[in-house]
Symmetry: C2
Subunit: 156 residues, 2 copies
């Protein structure tokens, strides 16, 4: 296994989409929501094109020293009037490959996103984590986040 020091964070490419979907699907909540098929459903590739062309969205992956993708995170930088017109960063879809967990890769990804949001002038970074993901909540608190809000969702 590669050491954490060899992990690099880079922008996701189209040929990473399959591995990313694999990580999204390998999850108690994702299992019922994703379709990990070969070939990959077109909707994933269309979504990749859309987000890759959006100047406010960055989908990044964590890559180990051998070039394998072992984590992902999406950061959106959003304008808004509140907090004196402060931009905010929204973190979504944070995943680490099952065989690489508890090695600091998630922390590297989130710290990257926080630094990136800060560098782009955000005064706030926010995210929603499912109420059952108690370990994730502890993880984010350790990184300085507060469980200050209720995250409400409506699925169609």
């Amino acid at each position: 296994m590669a050491a954490i020091s060899s992990i690099t964070i880079r922008r996701a490419r189209r040929d990473d989409v399959g591995v990313i979907v694999g990580m999204l699907a390998d999850d108690p909540l994702g299992r019922g929501r994703e379709r990990l098929e070969d070939p990959l459903p077109l909707s994933y590739l269309q979504a990749f094109e859309a987000l890759d062309n959006d100047p406010n969205i960055q989908l990044v992956v964590a890559q180990d020293g051998e070039g394998a993708v072992v984590g992902c995170l999406q950061l959106c930088i959003l304008s808004g009037l509140s907090s004196q017109g402060a931009s905010r960063g929204l973190i979504e879809d944070v995943r680490v490959a099952a065989h690489c967990r508890s090695r600091g890769i998630g922390e590297r990804l989130v710290q990257w996103a926080v630094a990136e949001a800060r560098g782009k002038g955000c005064k706030l970074v926010e995210l929603l984590t499912h109420h059952t993901r108690v370990d994730a909540q502890r993880f984010y608190v350790r990184l300085g986040f507060q469980p200050s809000h209720v995250g409400m969702t409506l699925r169609f």
Copy 2:
């Protein structure tokens, strides 16, 4: 007072920014975060330009029959890979003027956002509401939202 039937939802204009900031500031949490001054701090107008030029963001206002702005809401449509590449809608900065509350204006705004997100192909609408806003949480549950997530924030 205008009847709810006379309320229209329209895109916010630059000359609405002062009234919107007034609503953001007239709030237990907003009071400490906003600067309602005349002239308005430039940061609000710069943020308005940025969001108004972002094709994925819609800042809308509720206007009564006499043309007064009595509510606001921001909707962001975000691409992402999860849920089979589904776009999601993020609702932010929902406010109704203090003298117009409990008349269904907030509901009109949120229903507009849900319909708009749905029309743009979103499979999910999400929002964060401060844990102290218990009435807001009840309001969103009544509109079909679930308090499924913890909303975590990090302020710089």
